[in-house]
């Protein structure tokens, strides 16, 4: 690679378990690449991808699963934690509830630290910050010495009430840092979140991830002359220094790229459906990225603003079986990558992929770019064994496809209807945007069931997240706890905001290029006495009436009523600074070499409305712009297939996105041809 090649500005690199995807723009043309990932050293995937780019760009925008995997496989640490005396077990007890209501052996989350890695210290204030107990120098030194000797590579600190009154905790953190020379993570520096379990758990996670992410960032930095920025779960590219200050911000980095890519399509209202081999992520975008502070990873809380993505265990590998009551069921168990679906030929079980193969929705030579040879006979055998329960092959195919649509639709409802947003209102209709390997197999039917009219299957849907990374803003966020009523805190908000802006401005200074930093101020608010908060965005002018109005609007939208007369409390103020990526207009797709006749590359025997039909198969790369194609049909490309059922029409727009219009009325029953209205 030639270091001097720097005409490429930005490359988006999305590391996944199987593939590392890349997207960049060269001379105004969108380019993408897909290379195999290296499970043991993910940086190898990054560098072999960069070889395809042909040089180092100015900025590498990276989405990584290194943090996620360190948590899932528990190979972070070693690290230690110091907490207020009497509360050593807080990380283990959590919120006290069990995961599964009905189990003879109730289970809970599995914390990242062991009990012997947690130390108690006599430091404690009341809720107002008045010290009740403070450690002497000797006590601190003894604890620091034991931790140092234990081989811990990072230390987390959790002191009661530190979100409201950070000084005691941060002084202790400073002292420990000075004595041990280790990275120290004070819970109050990571989140202004006044609940000890969630905040301490976050501190423990950051300490636990610090060694492994530190090594990863170093190894990229040593070999890559580009500037590296990392996708945070909140949907902003983060400079490495900020990642090392709070490594937990990267643990849900993967799905964030997809949501950003949907945002970059410029659709006002979109439901994103990212279906892969084992799971499906859904997100609702209405202008801005939806955010939550109640995300979890592996049962552990992540009380940081995180793009609100709902995940269900339905994917191509979901296992098809009959349950003990004789009912056909799909997932959530998955055949995974190994043995994989029966058609992979490794002795795998009957899965959704097998069903789609037999139902004619998968054209084998186009599956995963044609690199995976599918064995139809194995699918027939696996499904055939299920037929011994007295159900015909056709009934199983139809039933499982309906189950898949129902469970995907259920996930979509959960992020829309269940949150007070009706996506099918005629004057505020949402568009369904499927991506990932399997999203477009069911998207049109899901959209119809949701009462939607349009599906957009974007160009390069197979490397869609990398495009999102490439176009993402560089961002930083910080926050401060307020925990007072609007009335009592309103005076202090502008000053707090200005201080936070200075703080973020410093960390983003070096990235200020042609574009300035845009700041957004948000407040976490609730009625006094409630636990959960709503995030409201405020403008430059901050006053009581405006805050009350925006809070009440958000509250009514979400919960349908107001608790008038009850005091509104501001829990925290938060600033996000954002440097927008240079806006890239993708080039139009070439019209030369595209023609309708050649694009029709074959036929498939398709299950449709409870019978078999022959349907055409089109190669997406050969379809001309703006020519309508009616369902039933399959539109295939290297890493995705779009299924068009009856009563839908698709055309490619000039940017190469497949736009599907649903022509039938919003009749959710059409998927199985029954209609009984009460």
């Amino acid at each position: 690679m030639d270091d001097s090649v720097r005409k490429i500005d930005r490359v988006g690199i999305d590391s996944g378990g199987t593939f590392t995807d890349l997207a960049w723009v060269e001379d105004g043309v969108l380019k993408t690449a897909k290379v195999p990932s290296n499970r043991y050293s993910p940086e190898e995937g990054v560098f072999s991808g960069l070889i395809k780019v042909g040089g180092f760009p100015k900025i590498v925008c990276h989405g990584t699963t290194v943090g996620t995997n360190a948590i899932l496989a528990r190979h972070g640490g070693p690290s230690a934690m110091i907490v207020t005396s009497g509360f050593r077990d807080v990380l283990f007890i959590g919120r006290g509830e069990r995961k599964n209501l009905y189990s003879r052996s109730p289970e809970r989350h599995n914390p990242l630290l062991r009990r012997e890695e947690i130390f108690e210290i006599g430091l404690r204030s009341d809720a107002d910050g008045n010290l009740l107990q403070s450690p002497d120098k000797n006590e601190i030194e003894i604890i620091a010495a034991i931790i140092k000797k234990s081989g811990a590579k990072a230390v987390s600190v959790g002191i009661l009430h530190s979100a409201a009154n950070p000084a005691h905790e941060q002084n202790l953190a400073k002292t420990i840092r000075k004595i041990t020379g280790l990275p120290v993570f004070a819970s109050s520096s990571l989140a202004a979140y006044p609940r000890e379990y969630e905040r301490w758990s976050l501190a423990a996670m950051s300490g636990y991830l610090s060694p492994v992410l530190g090594r990863y960032l170093d190894s990229l930095n040593e070999r890559c002359p580009s500037q590296l920025v990392y996708m945070a779960s909140s949907g902003g590219l983060t400079p490495p220094g900020k990642v090392l200050e709070n490594p937990s911000i990267c643990v849900l980095s993967g799905p964030a790229g997809g949501a950003l890519a949907v945002k970059s399509l410029g659709i006002d209202r979109a439901l994103a459906l990212d279906m892969g081999g084992t799971s499906t992520d859904v997100t609702l975008l209405a202008g801005k990225l939806p955010r939550t502070r109640e995300a979890e990873i592996d049962g552990l809380p992540l009380p940081l603003p995180t793009i609100d993505i709902h995940t269900i265990g339905a994917g191509g590998g979901s296992i098809v079986r009959f349950d003990d009551g004789g009912m056909l069921s799909l997932g959530p168990e998955s055949a995974g990558a190994s043995p994989g679906p029966a058609c992979y030929g490794d002795g795998g079980p009957a899965t959704l992929t097998d069903i789609m193969l037999l139902a004619g929705r998968i054209v084998p030579e186009w599956f995963l770019g044609g690199e995976m040879k599918l064995n139809r006979a194995e699918s027939e055998k696996a499904i055939g064994e299920l037929c011994s329960r007295g159900m015909s092959m056709e009934k199983i195919l139809d039933g499982v496809i309906e189950l898949a649509i129902v469970s995907l639709t259920g996930a979509l409802r959960k992020i829309s209807v269940a949150r007070g947003i009706d996506p099918s209102l005629p004057d505020a209709m949402f568009t369904l945007v499927p991506f990932g390997g399997a999203g477009a197999f069911f998207a049109v039917e899901c959209a119809r069931m949701m009462g939607l009219k349009q599906v957009i299957h974007p160009r390069a849907a197979g490397v869609f997240s990398a495009i999102g990374l490439q176009q993402a803003p560089i961002a930083g966020e910080c926050e401060r706890t307020i925990l007072r009523s609007v009335e009592k805190s309103i005076e202090s908000i502008p000053a707090a905001r200005d201080e936070l802006i200075v703080e973020i401005g410093k960390s983003l200074d070096k990235w200020r290029g042609e574009s300035e930093v845009n700041y957004t101020t948000s407040l976490e608010c609730r009625y006094r006495g409630q636990t959960h908060t709503l995030e409201i965005i405020v403008g430059n002018e901050i006053n009581e009436i405006l805050i009350t109005e925006s809070f009440e609007k958000a509250y009514r939208d979400r919960y349908t009523y107001l608790h008038s007369g009850c005091e509104i409390e501001i829990v925290s103020v938060r600033i996000r600074g954002e440097i927008t990526a240079p806006k890239i207009e993708f080039e139009d797709i070439l019209s030369s070499g595209r023609n309708m006749l050649e694009s029709r590359i074959g036929e498939t025997g398709l299950r449709l409305d409870k019978s078999w039909v022959q349907a055409p198969v089109y190669s997406r790369d050969l379809i001309p712009v703006d020519v309508p194609i009616k369902g039933p049909a399959l539109i295939v490309e290297d890493f995705a297939t779009l299924y068009l059922p009856n009563e839908s029409v698709m055309h490619l727009d000039r940017k190469g996105n497949a736009v599907v219009e649903i022509t039938s009325p919003p009749n959710p029953l059409s998927i199985n041809g029954e209609g009984e209205f009460g």
Partner: protein, 418 residues
């Protein structure tokens, strides 16, 4: 305290919302007192219309809220409950429009039959027989305990499971009485433990089941009986009894779990200037299973409420939490040990009335297959350095500076440890 808001929608569907309101009046803060009559436990609400013609009926929310020591909090919760009912109705209407009434009816009965088939397919693999279990809910000074007795019989052709509770104690003079719906839900819960994870809970699970209760007993009390402890403590004792009986029948049951919810209610004394009310349940040890140890410090069986963060308690209540941790060594030993209980210490910062409803303070939860019992729980008041142990159920006034220390029971162990 539960109040249901029902509304029939355009088709013959019904949306029912059960909410637990933390204070509805009565003789003690939190409304779970050591009562002897229903009236002591707060407002008794006859069936009444809350929403009519899409509008909340005048004064109804105020009337219910004003019965509480925290009318503002109640008002908010009632509004939330009503709103959820409205949303539920809307969804039912949509469902009826989109899927059609006949189809919904067909699918609903299909679901009910489906869960029944799952239960039958499990029961058919179990041998005929009978088993019985007894749990003695502890007596306290001036009040007897209660005996929960269950004899379970499984017969085949057709498969039929009978739970006979008729030998349980007479109606309790205190608040331990449980209404029949609590027995039903304990039976449903317990059966569901043996079924696959995705089994839907429907009335189909009770089709092959008969539950026998005796009128005038602790599990089927007369009108006006005190029931504050029924849902929160007796329900745990019923579950414990059921698991012991099913174990005798040869099913693979866990050892007894903490068998209580450790209901702690704290609030101001009558006529004091400052008003507060705090209610929580505390986790404890889970009983061990044949293949795995019991979890420590966790909510078991008939409750799964989350704890309140210490930082939230101390910011809004005149209470200080001094410690919150595992009660090491309290789980019963065995080949698989029971889970440890929890120790939680409250310092009282304002004159307070305390109510405790708990169980297993004298005898710990049983082990099984040779495993040892878990340690019994303890309710302790520390005043001026002196410890006083309180009984399982108690109502007492506390002073500033008093420390309330709750040690929850450990779970029973499974099998002999060699």
């Amino acid at each position: 305290m539960d109040m249901s808001i029902r509304r029939s929608s355009r088709f013959s569907g019904r949306w029912l919302r059960l909410s637990y309101h933390s204070d509805v009046g009565g003789i003690a803060p939190g409304s779970l007192p050591l009562s002897s009559r229903l009236e002591d436990e707060g407002i008794v609400i006859p069936p009444m219309l809350v929403v009519s013609g899409g509008k909340v009926v005048d004064n109804v929310v105020e009337r219910l809220a004003d019965a509480s020591r925290q009318p503002d909090e109640r008002r908010g919760d009632l509004l939330a409950q009503i709103s959820s009912g409205m949303v539920g109705l809307k969804r039912l209407d949509e469902l009826a429009r989109n899927r059609g009434l006949d189809r919904i009816k067909r699918e609903s009965s299909g679901l009910i039959e489906h869960s029944e088939r799952i239960l039958l397919s499990f029961l058919e693999k179990q041998a005929n027989g009978t088993g019985s279990g007894i749990t003695f809910m502890e007596a306290i000074p001036d009040e007897p305990g209660a005996e929960i007795h269950c004899r379970v019989t499984l017969t085949h052709n057709p498969t039929h499971l009978v739970f006979n509770f008729t030998n349980s104690s007479d109606q309790h003079p205190g608040c331990l009485n449980a209404v029949p719906s609590i027995v039903n839900s304990a039976v449903l819960y317990t059966l569901r433990l043996f079924l696959p994870p995705d089994t839907p809970i429907t009335s189909g699970l009770l089709n092959p089941v008969t539950i026998k209760l005796r009128e005038g007993s602790v599990l089927n009390p007369g009108k006006g009986a005190a029931v504050a402890g029924g849902n929160v403590e007796t329900s745990q004792a019923i579950t414990e009894t059921l698991l012991i009986a099913l174990g005798e029948l040869g099913w693979d049951v866990p050892a007894s779990s903490q068998g209580t919810m450790n209901n702690i209610l704290l609030g101001n004394l009558p006529d004091s200037e400052f008003s507060y009310s705090f209610y929580e349940t505390i986790g404890g040890g889970a009983g061990a299973c044949s293949d795995r140890p019991g979890a420590a410090g966790i909510q078991t069986h008939m409750t799964n409420t989350r704890n309140t963060p210490v930082e939230a308690i101390e910011r809004t209540m005149p209470l200080r939490i001094r410690s919150y941790g595992f009660r090491t060594g309290s789980g019963g030993s065995g080949k698989m040990p029971g889970g440890d209980g929890i120790i939680r210490e409250f310092e009282i910062l304002y004159p307070t009335r305390l109510t405790i409803l708990s169980h297993h303070r004298i005898k710990g939860p049983d082990g099984i297959a040779g495993g040892n019992p878990g340690a019994p729980g303890r309710n302790i008041i520390i005043r001026d350095g002196l410890e006083t142990e309180l009984p399982s159920r108690v109502m007492i006034d506390l002073q500033i500076g008093d420390i309330l220390r709750i040690e929850t029971p450990g779970g029973g162990g499974y099998g002999v440890r060699y």
